[in-house]
């Protein structure tokens, strides 16, 4: 039996997802790995944090994914004067009927883009993060469920920019992955300049999936087989973060679970019915970096630290 034969076990794996990857790749040029990570994150039912300087395509990526997946999309631009009610919604008094009516905020959408989340005050940030965690919103004493599926893609400018409130570690943990887009390479940038920006083309995209079949696909991705040796590998990696002096503290058990879920989604995207160490290594930087603190400087763990971590653990 070869790897290719095992593909037959994956009935639900759609060519459509290849389409999503393909189409998104045409919008965000030269960022296939990041796009794949973003999709894997959504497949694993996790929220995504994109962190980079302005103008590198964060919003475009979020928008593209919403279009391609056929998700109801809303965007919240975070500012320093944004209030929690601006996100969750407010009740207004209707004089005709003499009663309050709840006007749902922008958070009531299937894919919420929280743009520049670190510009808002911690109070407002936490309103969104609570919604992310609970899948519901409590406003004025009433609890209202959020639509399903519910994803948040938050973008953030690097914390050293002026007038920002960086997310605390406990909040960062709510995001399954954190990715950086970075500058495009020469060829991609040339193509971008020639095309005159990609925002416009996003509007022309047609959905390749509907929100109705997404839960089934997520279910399938979460059932991908992880063999004993693979679990051993994840455990060894997590343990290594706790023992190396590179990091201030190691990964939590929840981070280990997140790593496994992300690796499963990654394997599913590759059309395999089992998780390989390659999958773990592929998602590890996105899952681990924002959960670890470098012992020197105290910022996120560096990409090199994660590479060194991988090199320090033998694959069982």
């Amino acid at each position: 039996m070869t790897l290719k034969n095992t593909l037959s076990g994956l009935a639900g794996h759609p060519r459509a997802f290849d389409g999503v990857l393909d189409q998104a790749g045409r919008i965000i040029l030269g960022k296939d790995y990041e796009i794949r990570l973003a999709i894997a994150c959504l497949l694993a039912n996790g929220h995504l944090l994109i962190e980079d300087l302005p103008g590198l395509g964060k919003t475009t990526l979020a928008h593209t994914l919403a279009r391609l997946l056929g998700l109801q999309f809303s965007r919240i631009q975070f500012t320093s004067d944004l209030l929690p009610a601006d996100i969750t919604g407010v009740s207004i008094f209707e004089r005709d009927r003499s009663e309050f009516r709840f006007l749902p905020g922008p958070v009531f959408a299937q894919l919420v883009l929280a743009d520049e989340i670190n510009r808002a005050t911690p109070k407002t940030q936490s309103a969104l993060l609570e919604a992310m965690e609970e899948g519901q919103v409590t406003a004025e004493g009433q609890t209202r469920p959020l639509p399903t599926p519910f994803f948040v893609i938050a973008t953030q400018n690097p914390a050293h920019q002026i007038g920002t409130f960086p997310l605390p570690e406990s909040q960062l943990d709510r995001f399954l992955m954190r990715i950086e887009l970075g500058y495009p390479d020469r060829i991609a940038e040339r193509a971008l300049l020639a095309a005159g920006g990609q925002r416009r083309r996003v509007e022309e995209l047609t959905p390749l999936l509907s929100p109705d079949n997404l839960p089934a696909l997520q279910q399938e991705a979460s059932a991908i087989h992880a063999a004993g040796p693979l679990i051993d590998y994840i455990q060894a990696l997590v343990e290594a973060t706790r023992q190396t002096p590179t990091f201030q503290h190691g990964l939590s058990p929840r981070a280990g679970l997140a790593l496994l879920a992300a690796a499963r989604a990654w394997a599913w995207l590759a059309g395999r019915d089992m998780v390989l160490p390659d999958d773990v290594q592929a998602v590890l930087p996105a899952v681990a970096r924002h959960r670890l603190r470098s012992a020197q400087g105290g910022g996120y763990a560096l990409a090199e630290d994660i590479a060194a971590l991988i090199r320090s653990v033998a694959i069982p």
Partner: protein
């Protein structure tokens, strides 16, 4: 709340415990009183039946009286609860009764512990090779039981036994090191309680008609001898035991009391030899006539017998030498001569009359010749002589004329004494069987013999063997050829088939090697062994250091081996490592953190010709290692189910 020890016992573990109990107690059934063996077997069967039928185990009100009755029975039988026999009987009883109380894991652990202890007790009875082999197998079983108790029902009996076997084999190096290096104490390997030496057969220090004939029917080994030089002629192989000077008309016994020390004059060069004497519970050594150099703990008594202070109740090895030609007490003390002329008054009148008649016409040598000629003419050598009356020698010489060596020796001495020639009976062994495989001469109880010594002026005590006159083949070829067919000889000696004899030689050589090498490994042998290793002048401190460091090295070696072997236990991983060794030969080193797919990509770059085959290896390995084998199994199962 239940602690692990209180956990209920897994029903399927119970047969292991029955097997343990049976294997560790069964060999004791052979030598125990019959009623004890019967009770133990009955208890075993009862416990097994209860388990088989899944019945409730008996309550305390049955078990406590059972223990009481069993202990009382043992007390009645042995008059004690301690010592070797009673103690072992108690252990066997406890073991079989514990089977009726198997409720929790703790009970099972008691059975296992008792089992290990019972294993040791067998060595108090026998240290033979079959015993050793049985106990090795039993130890394997007990260990497997222990593993089964801890491992749960997951592993198959085969795996459990295999694991126990591996564990036991790992202990072998330690066993050897401990055996070779552990400081030895003088004496036997197994120190025994005093009641252990009862019932040892061997030559007695008294002789009456029939006593040796009875002993001859026993084929047990009396001692083994290895000569430094060539084997002396068989006719010279007289192994001297007690010398019997006093006769009461029926029984011969040694003279008790002080006598002057012997004067021995060697007429031939000494012959050196080593003898391994089996326990015979007597204070003498069976030494080749005439014994010269004795071991330090022995002294020669007035009749040349080598004696020691304490009875020999363990197999022991001695270095000795002998002169085959000798002159012994040419100037004998008149008191001794007088003692060797004494006959009980009024006994054997016919014999005395005959001797008187010879005396008047002959010298001492002439009398001897007359007597030997008499025996040679009309007498029969047999193990089954008729019963003799009050004047036993008269009966024998003039009526039955059938007898065994003790009859001839006794009659000859009586004749000599009556004819005025000092004479006495010598007990011991004659001949032996030479095993060409290990060059040992084996002397058995069936070689027991009695001969005589007469004192002749200037010559001293001279050995005369009247049996040789009756049946020369007894001395020349051994007892088996000297007796007519149908005599009650041990079966062992009756078989004349060549290949059976060859097999017997082989078995005896193995046994002897075991006795000499394993059971006879004493402080001296240990010193020899160590000096061969270059460790001369050893005391217990250097031995302890050698022992500790060797054991430490062994542990380190075993652990290293286990650590090295461990990751290869999974056959998939083992095969994968094989593939990696293939790559290593082509200078592609595997990095432990590198995924197989990355490795395949690297191979594709470095060895394009290897790319395809190696990719197939990687694919197959990944499926086997990380794939869902259960799912494949279920798919297979479903597919097979649809065939029906």
């Amino acid at each position: 709340m239940s602690t692990p020890a209180r956990e209920a016992l897994d029903r399927h573990a119970t047969p292991w415990l029955f097997a343990t109990a049976l294997a560790t107690t069964a060999p004791h059934f052979i030598h125990q009183p019959v009623w004890l063996s019967a009770v133990a077997s009955a208890l075993l069967l009862w416990a097994f039946w209860l388990w088989w039928k899944d019945q409730r185990l008996p309550g305390r009100w049955i078990l406590i009286p059972l223990v009481g009755a069993g202990s009382a029975g043992i007390l009645l039988e042995f008059h004690t609860l301690f010592g070797r026999d009673a103690g072992v009987a108690m252990l066997v009883m406890f073991m079989t009764m514990k089977l009726l109380e198997l409720k929790s894991r703790r009970d099972a652990m008691v059975v296992v512990t008792l089992g290990y202890f019972l294993l040791l007790t067998h060595y108090l009875f026998s240290q033979s090779i079959p015993t050793g082999l049985w106990l090795l197998a039993a130890m394997w079983l007990v260990t497997a039981t222990l593993i089964r108790l801890h491992g749960g029902p997951a592993s198959s009996p085969r795996d459990t036994l295999r694991y126990a076997g591996v564990l036991s084999l790992q202990a072998v190096p330690f066993m050897l090191v401990l055996f070779l290096l552990f400081p030895r104490i003088s004496g036997p390997l197994w120190g025994l309680p005093t009641d252990a030496h009862a019932g040892k057969t061997g030559l007695s220090d008294t002789m009456s008609p029939g006593s040796i004939a009875e002993l001859v029917q026993n084929a047990d080994i009396a001692f083994r001898v290895r000569f430094d030089g060539p084997l002396p002629p068989r006719q010279k192989l007289y192994w001297r035991g007690p010398v019997m000077e006093q006769f009461d008309g029926a029984t011969w016994q040694p003279h008790k009391g002080r006598s002057p020390s012997p004067q021995l004059e060697s007429l031939s060069p000494p012959i050196g030899y080593e003898t391994t004497l089996e326990a015979h519970n007597q204070r003498w050594l069976l030494a080749l006539d005439a014994p010269r150099d004795l071991p330090a703990e022995f002294s020669q008594n007035a009749t040349l017998t080598a004696v020691t202070q304490n009875p020999i109740n363990e197999r022991q090895r001695f270095q000795l030498s002998a002169s085959l030609e000798y002159r012994f007490n040419a100037n004998e003390d008149p008191l001794v001569l007088q003692r060797n002329l004494a006959l009980p008054a009024g006994s054997n009148p016919q014999t005395r009359a005959l001797a008187e008649q010879w005396r008047s016409t002959n010298t001492a040598e002439g009398v001897i010749d007359k007597a030997l000629a008499l025996f040679a003419a009309e007498f029969t050598y047999t193990l089954q002589p008729p019963l003799l009356g009050r004047h036993s020698v008269d009966d024998f010489l003039f009526r039955s004329k059938r007898g065994f060596c003790e009859h001839y020796a006794a009659a000859f001495v009586v004749l000599m004494r009556a004819a005025g020639v000092p004479a006495r009976v010598v007990g011991g062994y004659q001949g032996g069987e030479f095993n060409p495989l290990d060059q040992y001469l084996v002397v058995r109880q069936s070689d027991a013999h009695a001969w005589t010594e007469v004192w002749i002026k200037q010559k001293g005590w001279v050995r005369i063997d009247p049996t040789a006159a009756v049946s020369p083949s007894r001395i020349e070829t051994g007892i088996a050829n000297a007796l007519a067919f149908g005599e009650p000889l041990p079966l062992l000696l009756q078989v004349r088939s060549e290949w059976v004899r060859a097999l017997r030689y082989r078995w005896e050589a193995i046994n002897n090697a075991w006795n000499q090498g394993v059971l006879g490994y004493n402080p001296q042998r240990q010193r020899e062994f160590l000096s061969r290793l270059g460790l001369s002048e050893t005391d217990w401190r250097s031995l302890a250091i050698a022992l500790g460091s060797t054991c430490g090295l062994l542990v380190a070696g075993l652990m290293g081996w286990a650590l090295y072997k461990h990751p290869e236990r999974d056959p998939v991983v083992r095969l994968w490592h094989k593939a990696l060794r293939h790559l290593a030969r082509r200078k592609v080193d595997y990095l432990p953190w590198e995924t197989p797919l990355d490795l395949a990509r690297r191979v594709r770059k470095q060895h394009p010709e290897l790319a395809e085959p190696f990719q197939r290896v990687v694919d197959a390995y990944l499926v086997a290692r990380y794939g869902n084998t259960d799912q494949h199994l279920n798919t297979l199962r479903d597919a097979i189910a649809q065939l029906r």
